[in-house]
């Protein structure tokens, strides 16, 4: 077939005039760059939010009772926010209500935290989180201990001053020795290190890796300085389907306990990773609506440029067309030749765009926690779009070429 021949010749032509070709293809390149960069980033962000961010903040298959909503989707208005500010703080009493209402859950953990600093001898680190967690806290959070042991129910019951420390803190305080059984000071209170957490790394990992975990009861006695508040009560279930009934039961129990009348709003908040996910969905939707418009405009511009180039090429090569016809080329052969050329041109543009777009996404990855994930779907849609633009914008010039009269074309110029 002269199909490959056509592609080869078009590529030769593109290569022979690299700079001109580049500028001619700029529209398509920019359009596809946009497309790939945004899709790549949105997809990366999507994966990040769903798998990493939401999971590590709230846990998978976990709901949390908190005093008021933390992540808003933009739909929560100011009055609602003001109302939530009057919500009652959570206490150990609420923990007992939840423990009873959610008896079937896999784990239930409650915790409170505070900022602070740790010190061991000459070494110290500021801006850490000191978390007071109940025995199941590590399990609910999915935290693993690297060396030593985690916290136990006994630690909590006896309010032992023991701590499991994050990897960043372990490195800072104990650059040369083992942290186990050493006595550190957190906000001035003494704790014995019994374990070191696995490094999580990454964006959200910064929080965990720079935290120390102590028993909840010890936290209340020491760091909290007699403050009674429980920051959050987390309930983790085995299967996603178990979430809804348990949430209903916990909500009902808390409302009864707080004597809320029917119709009165909750004075606490039940949070799932859905809150965050729905906020993300909103952003996502906006991006995915804005994207086609941006891409569309650049592709239309790119298409017009290609149409111009092809018209120019047809008039430049009128003689060649006449010659080919005189040698037996049919209309469809000429049509096909110029369509192939236009498509090759635009596909080259698309490929450059894919490269540039992916490069852009990689650059973003380098300076942010967002992973760049280039999906087959994105590449495919870029190539199909490129091909579509090529055929659409090449058709008219190719049709004009195919209609040329052989002898008039041969006589031209």
């Amino acid at each position: 077939m002269h199909f490959w021949e056509g592609i080869r010749l078009s590529l030769q032509q593109i290569w022979a005039q690299k700079l001109k070709s580049f500028f001619s293809l700029l529209g398509i390149i920019i359009g596809i760059t946009f497309l790939i960069a945004v899709i790549t980033m949105v997809e990366g962000m999507d994966r990040y939010v769903k798998e990493d961010f939401a999971g590590s903040l709230f846990g998978v298959n976990t709901f949390t009772v908190i005093r008021r909503q933390q992540v808003t989707t933009g739909r929560t208005d100011e009055a609602e926010r003001r109302r939530q500010r009057r919500n009652r703080e959570l206490r150990m009493h609420d923990v007992e209500v939840v423990l009873e209402a959610a008896a079937g859950a896999r784990n239930i953990a409650y915790s409170a935290s505070s900022g602070g600093e740790v010190r061991y001898g000459q070494n110290s680190r500021r801006n850490i989180r000191i978390i007071g967690g109940s025995a199941d806290y590590e399990a609910v959070q999915g935290w693993k201990v690297e060396t030593g042991r985690g916290l136990t129910a006994i630690d909590d019951k006896q309010a032992l001053q023991v701590a499991v420390i994050g990897s960043v803190i372990a490195e800072r305080l104990f650059p040369t020795t083992s942290p186990l059984d050493k006595r550190i000071r957190a906000n001035g209170y003494r704790f014995r290190v019994v374990g070191v957490l696995e490094t999580q790394g990454g964006f959200t990992g910064n929080i965990r890796d720079a935290s120390i975990l102590i028993p909840f009861s010890s936290f209340q006695r020491t760091v909290a300085e007699r403050r009674q508040e429980v920051d959050q009560i987390q309930v983790k279930v085995n299967e996603a389907e178990e979430m809804a009934p348990l949430m209903v039961s916990v909500e009902g129990a808390l409302r009864r306990d707080r004597r809320l009348r029917p119709g009165e709003p909750n004075d606490f908040h039940l949070q799932t990773s859905n809150d965050l996910l729905s906020a993300w969905e909103t952003i996502n939707k906006i991006l995915l609506i804005a994207l086609p418009a941006l891409v569309g405009i650049s592709l239309v511009v790119g298409g017009i440029v290609i149409m111009n180039i092809m018209l120019l090429s047809v008039s430049d090569r009128t003689r060649e067309i006449g010659l080919r016809k005189s040698l037996g080329a049919k209309r469809k052969d000429i049509l096909f030749q110029f369509l192939t050329e236009a498509s090759t041109l635009s596909i080259v543009g698309a490929i450059l765009g894919i490269g540039a777009g992916f490069g852009l996404a990689k650059l973003v990855e380098l300076f942010s926690p967002l992973p760049a994930s280039l999906s087959v779907g994105a590449i495919l849609s870029a190539v199909v779009l490129g091909l579509g633009v090529g055929i659409a914008s090449g058709f008219y010039p190719a049709y004009r070429a195919s209609k040329l009269d052989p002898i008039e074309a041969l006589r031209s110029e």
Partner: protein
């Protein structure tokens, strides 16, 4: 190609006309041409400038369509065919050699010769073989990968001839094929045509020069879009300059026109 009956008419035109309307004026480029050309004939077409020679060739080559009259090629009336059928005839039945060579400048000699085969749907392997063979016939087997700008004028015209031959056409049409060449190179090209004719190729050639026309068996002279003579014999006064040219390139041959002129009237293959 060597037909069993060399008297077969391959081209018959009857009252062929071509009018060009230029505003209020109409130019009768062909004003009723009746011509019959037989298989294996070698015919030269002569006539003053503007007499309609190229117009006639373009009609015969199915590059242009007549305003009126009939044209029968190989027993098939051509004037009513549609675009695609005409393209097929140009591809299979006709080999056209132009004065200006008309090669694709960026393509190699081989690729240029392959073009008609591409449109004939020949596989690439077969294309390569046939194109190389055709270049061999015009003695350019060693220049296959050269681009036109790496070839001399005569070599370019030989590539064009190879291209015209590659699909085994019924007729070879050449419109002033030596018009852009010097006289030595012209002789070279004429020799190629002569050899082709000896192998049975039907050739129709437009020329202004008598010594070129002298290579042909018959001269058709056009004047004002009409045939003014169908000379079956080439007049003696034409033969003399022809012999001179041949003598110039082959000095060993004695200066006798009847011997040095390789083709004489009626001396068909």
């Amino acid at each position: 190609m060597n037909a069993d009956s060399p008297t077969d008419a391959i081209i018959v035109t009857h009252n062929l006309t071509k009018d060009y309307v230029m505003g209020a004026e109409t130019v009768h480029a062909l004003a009723g041409v009746d011509v019959e050309i037989k298989r294996n004939e070698y015919v030269a077409i002569m006539g003053p400038s503007g007499s309609g020679k190229s117009t006639f060739m373009n009609m015969i080559g199915c590059l242009d369509s007549p305003s009126g009259g009939e044209y029968v090629l190989n027993g098939q009336p051509v004037q009513d065919l549609d675009d695609d059928e005409l393209a097929r005839i140009r591809n299979r039945e006709i080999g056209f050699v132009f004065q200006t060579f008309n090669l694709l400048p960026r393509a190699t000699a081989l690729h240029n010769v392959e073009l008609p085969l591409i449109y004939a749907g020949v596989s690439s392997k077969e294309r390569h073989r046939k194109a190389a063979e055709a270049l061999g016939i015009v003695q350019l087997g060693d220049r296959m990968d050269h681009k036109p700008n790496e070839l001399s004028g005569g070599q370019r015209q030989r590539v064009a001839i190879a291209r015209a031959l590659v699909n085994d056409p019924s007729i070879l049409l050449a419109d002033e094929p030596t018009g852009n060449l010097d006289s030595n190179t012209s002789d070279e090209i004429m020799e190629v045509f002569e050899n082709l004719h000896k192998q049975g190729q039907t050739i129709i050639m437009v020329t202004h020069e008598f010594d070129i026309a002298a290579h042909a068996q018959r001269i058709i002279t056009l004047v004002d879009g009409k045939v003014s003579s169908h000379d079956a014999e080439i007049p003696h006064h034409i033969l003399v300059p022809a012999s001179r040219t041949v003598e110039a390139t082959t000095p060993a041959v004695p200066l006798d026109p009847t011997i040095s002129s390789p083709i004489l009237p009626g001396e068909a293959v």
